[in-house]
Symmetry: C2
Subunit: 236 residues, 2 copies
DNA sequence: GAAAACTGTGTCTCGCGGACACTGTTCGTT
DNA sequence: AACGAACAGTGTCCGCGAGACACAGTTTTC
């Protein structure tokens, strides 16, 4: 498993590894990753198999193993390929504006590639792109009196929120999708058992502009961070 | 798929469905779910297969299908079986104390059954236990000037944070586990590329009591909610 | 030119989820 | 008391998945 970690690190971070003797490789990591992304975008991460990805490139399954040690590494490459480079921090923006823009951009990435939610659960090696997103958050919070671990914790907090929102809006999805069915089924269940779950039933029944969830949580988090920053500034 | 949703709802919410004619069932949903949980606790969710669960009960794989329509439903039952009932709200506790206790209890559930993280991604039907956790949050925020959707958003925010923390602490895991290897590999990578990720490198290098991440994010969220509640109280 | 190194392929194994037909058991009906 | 319907558990089968391995063809280096 330590081997697997090293393999992944080499694939994501290593040099292109050029000089070789045999026949020229007909494929490339980029093309393979792109094909995987194509499958995942169209049919979800579960539909990504070596066979399907190879088929899309008009190769056999086993030829992919000349480029990629296994499926886990393929998925890691797909993630790096699908994640956009993080937006540059606007020059004059304060930390709060930077983090707001950051969160919205990240949410857009998840919306464009919903399978990223499934592909980024659990412990894994971060690629350069993913790490760049983390870097932006930590950098935005530099110099405001937070300790290093606190800045990292804040990044985890923000990432977790965007993920949660992405999961929720994927579930809500376009109407008539299987996912929307599930959500509807849940609504029915809650209403049928309103006596056992009065608070949820009441909250659901109450009308109100939806799709504010990202903004709502983000504002709460940023308010909380602002309070901490202010406290640190005055007590130092 | 709508069928599948209904099946799951019936399994999780439906009555025990007793009166029958043929031979007595030798198994029960409870025993099956417990066996699944046992496998998942020991070897992870990926190791849960019909074969293994059935073998643990000294039955054949196919006999499980008499009780459970498919693997997805088995996992849903496992989740409901593994999730504790949410703690009762202490009588005199204000919303902030309630939510703090709630978050810690939920984090303990994730720590006890790390595979819950994998089992609760994506759209799915919530069971009674899971819904009860949601109910506690929404109920704790009742009567503080928040709209229904806002209370739901707050619940999503808190849940997302606890999930994020659980994922992180699972990755940190006990030393010498494969997961810990990955984390170590990431640290190495960051140091090697410190020029491209200076903020992260600095934040990691800086010492500081770890394992405060849950508390840190929770305090920020609750501070943010408190600010909103206060604002609502004064402007009404 | 020959050998070494490499690419892509075909074949094989194993484990998985699930369909289906079958035997055996139990209960409601007559 | 006997019969048939409804149900429980089993064995066999299929398709699909990841991956191991041996092989044939191609390119480079000596």
């Amino acid at each position: 498993m330590a081997e697997a970690a090293n393999d992944t690190v080499r694939l994501l971070w290593g040099p292109p590894a050029r000089p070789t003797r045999g026949p020229k490789p007909a494929l490339s990591l980029e093309r393979i990753a792109a094909a995987g992304v194509e499958v995942a975008d169209a049919e979800g991460l579960a539909a990504v198999s070596m066979q399907k990805v190879a088929g899309l490139l008009d190769f056999t399954k086993m030829s992919l193993y000349r480029y990629v040690p296994g499926k886990a590494e393929l998925v890691a490459l797909m993630v790096e390929s699908a994640v956009d480079a993080p937006p540059d921090a606007p020059e004059g923006a304060d930390w709060r504006e930077q983090l707001t823009a950051w969160a919205h951009h990240l949410a857009e990435s998840f919306a464009r590639h919903p399978w990223l939610l499934d592909a980024t659960v659990g412990a894994r090696v971060l690629g350069p792109r993913e790490l760049a997103w983390l870097e932006r958050v930590v950098a935005a919070l530099d110099g405001h009196g937070l300790t290093g671990p606190e800045r990292m914790d804040a990044a985890v907090l923000l990432t977790g929120h965007v993920r949660g929102i992405a999961a929720q809006s994927r579930a809500a999805g376009p109407a008539h999708t299987p996912e929307a069915e599930l959500l509807a089924a849940l609504g029915t269940v809650v209403q049928e058992h309103a006596d056992r779950f009065p608070a949820v039933a009441a909250a659901i029944a109450e009308p109100g502009g939806r799709d504010q969830a990202l903004e709502f949580g983000l504002e709460r988090i940023l308010d909380g961070l602002a309070a901490l920053i202010e406290r640190r500034a005055t007590t130092v």
